[in-house]
């Protein structure tokens, strides 16, 4: 029998349902795993053992008396440091929020808790979700479980690395420009970014409000479908959340792709994509064809402007969203003789380089005299990109593409070259700009053993379509069963 930590959420739910293992055993298995491995990986910022075990005992008692809250009762989950959880420090990987203890639960967190799930610990991230490598955290770098010289991707690098290394069954994360899909691809996991508004943003610390979306990183597509069903749905506390009913996403999963029309966007298969990545993704498309899908070439002509538009809109919104971190009410407060000095000193001491860079960029593009040239133009590009997808989805159900142009890169390789780092987001930012959904699933490895992610994009509220496609592909291929070497039997243990 395999170790408990290596199971999926659905397997665990089954076993716990049959009384084969307790929540305390499950939590202990994971705690031990974290104890053994996380010193090398650095996925968790904090793990509250006592609380997790207390909750596990409470869960076991509920199940024993037939009062389990759901099949997920007692199953632990990791949470990206960006989510507010009542009573927990929520630092967003930043010094400026040191000491800030959230007074409330984010809606997504509350929905997981309502099912009895246990919040095991907080996962590392690029500061305020700004980054693609998890090297921008004020609390240290997270490493890729497949190769510790590589980054895990970002900004949800901690969330992806923990799942990849079997230190979490699943994790809650956010995606503003690819921050779920890209680290999932780099770490060989499944990463689901739902449609904008499908999951409430209430309680996730805002980076770019019109782009941020909460989602999950899991070991397989089934778990992503299951957990999306828990966190999705309208929330009166988020005026941008969508009212539509939440379907049973597990019901839509199929092992074939008969009747599915797959869009093949030529703009996503261009020079600059790593050879091995292109090969793996092409292979995945062939596999889908074999499973019964029809492949149709589509065009997303404004793709080349997406990164520029993204970095204008995201930084503009961020410049306002992060203005509240001023030392007045919570978190870090540096000295200063008057409020203005206090702001300057607090923000100089509290924010890292990348965050400062983006605040300055965002402030600039909104400044009087520049607004029309930058922000307004970027919004026009955004409309064009949205229209591109609307056109494409008239002739196809889903679009397949690489999640990122390359696989995981080396720690330190791009920290001095922000532009190159930004360009790596080219295939993910489009979904955020258009507000559509996307999922990254493992689709192979580069010759040197780095995981490659296949991105499946769907129209707004098209989660069932992308989950169905992802599941059929996953079930037909072995990639999701592969574990990083340290996570295997011959690993560090």
């Amino acid at each position: 029998m395999s170790e408990l930590y290596s199971l999926t959420v659905r397997d665990l739910a089954d076993r716990m349902g049959r009384g084969e293992c307790s929540s305390v055993e499950v939590v202990n298995s994971l705690l031990e795993r974290i104890e053994n491995l996380d010193g090398e990986i650095g996925a968790y910022l904090s793990v509250d053992k006592e609380r997790a075990l207390d909750e596990a005992r409470a869960s076991d008692r509920r199940r024993e008396t037939g009062q389990g809250l759901s099949p997920l009762d007692g199953i632990p989950i990791g949470v990206k440091d960006i989510f507010n959880v009542a009573g927990e420090e929520c630092r967003c990987g930043s010094r400026i929020l040191e000491g800030y203890v959230a007074p409330y639960d984010a809606t997504a967190v509350a929905r997981l808790r309502a099912k009895g799930m246990i919040l095991l610990g907080r996962l590392n991230m690029d500061e305020f979700a700004m980054g693609s490598s998890t090297e921008n955290s004020a609390y240290g770098v997270t490493r890729n479980p497949w190769n510790r010289n590589l980054v895990p991707g970002g900004s949800s690098g901690g969330s992806a690395a923990a799942v990849s290394a079997d230190m979490a069954f699943a994790s809650l994360a956010t995606d503003t420009g690819g921050s779920i899909r890209q680290p999932a691809a780099f770490c060989g996991c499944v990463g689901l970014k739902p449609t904008y508004g499908r999951v409430s943003r209430y309680g996730l610390t805002a980076y770019a409000s019109s782009l941020d979306q909460a989602g999950v990183i899991t070991k397989d597509v089934g778990d992503a479908a299951l957990l999306l069903g828990v966190i999705a749905g309208h929330d009166p506390a988020d005026a941008t959340s969508l009212a539509a009913e939440v379907p049973d996403y597990l019901q839509c999963l199929r092992t074939d792709l008969k009747g599915v029309r797959i869009g093949y966007p030529r703009e996503y298969f261009v020079e600059g994509v790593e050879k091995d990545v292109a090969r793996s993704v092409q292979g995945a498309i062939e596999e889908c064809r074999r499973l019964g899908a029809e492949v149709i070439e589509v065009s997303l002509p404004h793709t080349e402007y997406a990164v520029a538009a993204y970095y204008i809109i995201a930084t503009a919104e961020a410049s306002a969203n992060l203005a509240r971190f001023d030392g007045v009410r919570y978190g870090l407060r540096a000295g200063g003789r008057d409020p203005l000095e206090m702001y300057a000193e607090t923000r100089a001491a509290g924010f890292g380089r990348e965050v400062k860079r983006r605040i300055i960029l965002g402030t600039y593009v909104l400044s009087s005299g520049y607004y029309d040239a930058y922000y307004l133009r970027a919004q026009k590009v955004r409309s064009l990109i949205r229209a591109d997808f609307q056109e494409a989805f008239k002739v196809c159900d889903v679009i397949l593409a690489p999640t990122a142009p390359g696989a995981a890169f080396a720690v330190g390789e791009r920290t001095q070259d922000p532009l190159r780092m930004y360009l790596g987001d080219i295939f993910t930012v489009t979904a955020n700009l258009a507000g559509i959904c996307g999922i990254s699933v493992p689709c192979g490895f580069t010759d040197d053993g780095r995981p490659v992610g296949l991105q499946i994009l769907g129209p707004a509220m098209g989660e069932e379509k992308i989950l169905r496609t992802a599941y059929a592909y996953e079930q037909a291929t072995p990639w999701h069963t592969r574990r990083p070497p340290i996570a295997g039997k011959e690993g560090v243990e």
Binding site: E317, S319, D326, Y330, S367
Partner: protein
């Protein structure tokens, strides 16, 4: 020596706190005062991860104001972020409206001092959130965020007021309308109405407006009047000496009676407006706006004119009665029930307003109903009780409520009109005052009044004075 005449242009940006139950973007109560930071939550404190949800009642009140002022209502409206750092601003941006306010255009009619009327144009009305309040102590400062998130409506006028007195009249008229519409309590002590002033002067004959100065954060109407009188004089003095007006932001030092320039750091801003991504645009339908329009109260000025026209009240009385919507309602209902508008007007203007001001109450807190007052008036008109007794009854009704007739009977105040009883009083008075009787018979008419008084005393004020007079005349022949 006749100098050059100067023309004055004044525009006002008036901030009005709306009377909603909860704050504009969260569920906190919208009330004045309380211990610092007790009416707050993570949303109005701008905590990480929180989101605004629009209070629709604030939208309704803003649109109602626009409809009262004759504005065009934007069916598509949106919110924007206005960025600047200030300790009393929880997010360091204010959710406001930049280019799509709820209301555009309209006007406020004022009376001119020398007679006549004038309409001051309204540019726009938009909705935003109020900020907290900084408090300064000996060696530290604090912020009370109870006020943060109070719905705040900004009414921007055209620079069409041509004297400080017109600005004052504009604020009075605006306040009257806002009270009528029930959109705000307009309580100046509680900061319900605050305004920023734009003011410029130019030599008569010059077409172009002069350079304007801005006076920030005025919170009394008299302050506005005095600040403007000072500022207009100051600007004219500069021009007379051949100087130039600096475009600057000022504040009014009430104690010293002067306007003072603010440090440039305190106001120089590039607000970097951009659309608020957390709130979808607001789309109103024609039907919704029409339904709100149908509920609008009559404007105070229209009501005043109607009181003069329909009830024959003097202009002054009509003005007093129409100034407060609840008082006007009370008056009209009383007048309708007793059919005596003049008498109703007298009673409301003297007794009702007296009791309200003595007790510091709202009219709605009075126990007397228009029905009871109308009955009381009816009894006076029919001669069933005299005026002195009626005032006594009124005081009882004001405090206790109940029916007028019941109080009159309980206190035994019905006028005595019984011929036999009056004859008895009169005979007794004649018997007790032989000297006065003698005087009267010798032609001293004043003696008759004295005798009436004596009869009234014997009847403890209840005898019908008219009947007493007649009986005395008859007996004294």
């Amino acid at each position: 020596m006749k100098k050059v005449d100067y023309l004055v242009n004044i525009g006002l940006e008036t901030h009005v706190q709306l009377k909603t139950r909860s704050k504009i973007f969260c569920g906190c109560r919208n009330v004045f005062g309380g211990e610092p930071n007790t009416h707050v939550c993570p949303v109005c404190l701008g905590y990480p991860g929180t989101l605004p949800v629009l209070n629709e009642e604030a939208v309704r009140l803003t649109v109602i104001t626009g409809l009262m002022l004759g504005s065009r209502i934007n069916l598509f409206s949106k919110f924007d972020r206005k960025s600047y750092f200030y300790p009393d601003m929880p997010k360091n941006y204010q959710i406001s409206q930049y280019d799509k306010p709820f209301c555009v255009g309209g006007g406020v009619e004022i009376d001119l001092e020398g007679g006549g009327r004038k309409v001051i144009g309204i540019t726009r009305i938009h909705l935003e959130e109020d900020v907290g309040k900084s408090m300064h102590f000996e060696s530290s400062s604090g912020v009370d965020f109870n006020r943060a998130g109070t719905p705040l409506m900004e009414i921007v006028s055209e620079p069409e007021m041509e004297s400080p007195e017109e600005a004052y009249a504009y604020l009075q008229a605006l306040k009257e309308i806002l009270l009528y519409a029930g959109v705000s309590d307009c309580n100046l002590e509680e900061g319900n109405m605050r305004c920023d002033i734009n003011c410029s002067v130019r030599p008569a004959g010059s077409e172009q407006l002069g350079t304007k100065t801005e006076i920030k954060n005025m919170n009394t109407f008299h302050g506005v009047l005095h600040a403007l009188r000072y500022e207009v004089r100051r600007q004219i003095d500069i021009l007379e000496k051949g100087g130039r007006i600096e475009q600057e932001t000022l504040r009014w030092d009430d104690r010293a009676g002067v306007t003072v320039a603010m440090r440039s750091k305190e106001y120089a801003h590039d607000y970097r407006y951009f659309p608020e991504p957390d709130l979808p645009p607001v789309r109103l339908t024609e039907e919704t706006v029409a339904a709100w329009r149908a509920e609008l109260p009559e404007m105070p000025r229209a009501r005043r004119e109607r009181f003069v026209r329909n009830y024959g009240l003097p202009e002054y009385d009509a003005g007093v009665l129409s100034a407060d919507r609840a008082v006007a309602d009370f008056f009209e209902e009383t007048a309708r029930l007793c059919g005596q508008p003049k008498a109703a007007s007298n009673w409301v203007m003297t007794e009702v307003l007296r009791v309200i001001s003595e007790k510091g109450l709202e009219i709605t807190a009075l126990k007397i109903t228009p029905r009871a007052l109308a009955d009381l008036i009816g009894m006076v008109v029919e001669g069933k009780i005299n005026t002195t007794a009626a005032k006594e009854v009124f005081d009882v009704l004001a405090v206790r409520g109940g029916e007028a007739r019941a109080v009159v009977e309980e206190r035994g105040l019905l006028q005595v009109r019984d011929a036999a009883a009056i004859e008895e009083y009169v005979l007794a008075a004649i018997a007790d005052n032989p000297k006065s009787v003698d005087d009267y018979r010798k032609g001293k008419k004043a003696a008759l009044q004295y005798l009436v008084g004596q009869v009234m005393r014997k009847s403890r004020g209840k005898a019908d004075p008219q009947l007493v007079l007649e009986e005395l005349r008859r007996r004294l022949g």
